[in-house]
Symmetry: C2
Subunit: 195 residues, 2 copies
């Protein structure tokens, strides 16, 4: 049953992308290798032809999740220049639809678990965080790059915190209120950020 090099590479990418979604859905500890391989349409025995361990997959899949998140944010921003792009990204990120989906944001779906992973995984997460902050900082026009970066870190932290809380609160009214208030507060901060 040997497969061609192309197909092998495609299978590998498919496993990584499937794992990214499954880990975000069920958590790292809560998602088994067999679950992932099953979701990818394969059997678990073949897993170790592609990866040394579950940990190796965790690390690679985090990269995939970060790419997915960045793509989502960039999509929200396309066609809007400067601060309007940031406002659109905030509105999409802090939307009820995002809350009720399998979040593309690993900081939300895996945040507390990531803090317990080894530094290779956490470094991958940090790289993703930096890129996110840069994406936002770039559009915070009218302030110095340093000030924009600092402001972007706060905006990203607030987005992650509000979505984390909104997702664990079962009371829909409160959860939706949290999202709305965070959007409102961030919108003010984006508009007012020291010129």
């Amino acid at each position: 049953m040997r497969k061609s090099k192309d197909e092998t590479a495609r299978t590998r990418r498919h496993i990584v992308d499937t794992a990214a979604v499954e880990f975000r859905r069920g958590g790292i500890a809560g998602t088994g290798v067999a679950d992932i391989m099953g979701a990818a349409g394969l059997t678990q025995g073949g897993f170790y032809r592609h990866f040394d361990s579950k940990d190796a997959l965790v690390q690679e899949s985090l990269g995939s999740s970060m790419d997915a998140l960045r793509a989502t944010i960039e999509e929200s921003m396309t066609g809007r220049s400067g601060r309007a792009g940031v406002l659109a990204a905030i509105d999409d990120y802090l939307s009820v639809e995002h809350r009720d989906s399998t979040s593309p944001c690993p900081f939300v779906s895996l945040g507390s678990e990531l803090a317990r992973e080894d530094s290779a995984v956490r470094d991958a997460a940090t790289a993703g965080l930096r890129r996110l902050a840069e994406l936002i900082a770039r559009q915070l026009t009218g302030v110095s790059p340093g000030a924009a970066k600092n402001k972007a870190l706060v905006i990203v932290s607030t987005m992650i915190g509000a979505m984390t809380v909104a997702r664990l609160v079962p009371d829909r009214a409160l959860s939706t209120l949290i999202l709305a208030q965070a959007r409102k507060s961030l919108a003010e901060q984006v508009r007012q950020a020291a010129p």
Copy 2:
């Protein structure tokens, strides 16, 4: 080896409090019943004299964690009236010491895992969140109670988000910068909140 009613009740509380710390340290999925009983100085066999299941303990221990967090926040606020109390609570919560400790805040240490727990657990978390927000809202003087509550929800979300991110970033400089920027931004928001 039967123990007196008093001692039994004390043992039970001890297990709950120990579990609260252990779950926050190692996560819910990552901490076993035997780990907790061992940390409490007992053997795992006795666990089911006190609790129906690990899940039942998770729920009770979350209450203990929430009490610990509230006590921490109240301690930061004591002796400071109005907004000064909120500023002190923010500074203590977003401190490097808090980041480097076993956080008393279950939203930070268990955030993404809590979103996957059953509604009994999530209701307990929500009750704790409401009490936290009220604690802060009460000290946001000069605005309507509704506006204070809304502002408090954003403040709490930002605190949780910044600490979640700061704890998973291995780069100390970036991690500390995130905390500092969040403190600065929240301080401005607390001082400026519409009068």
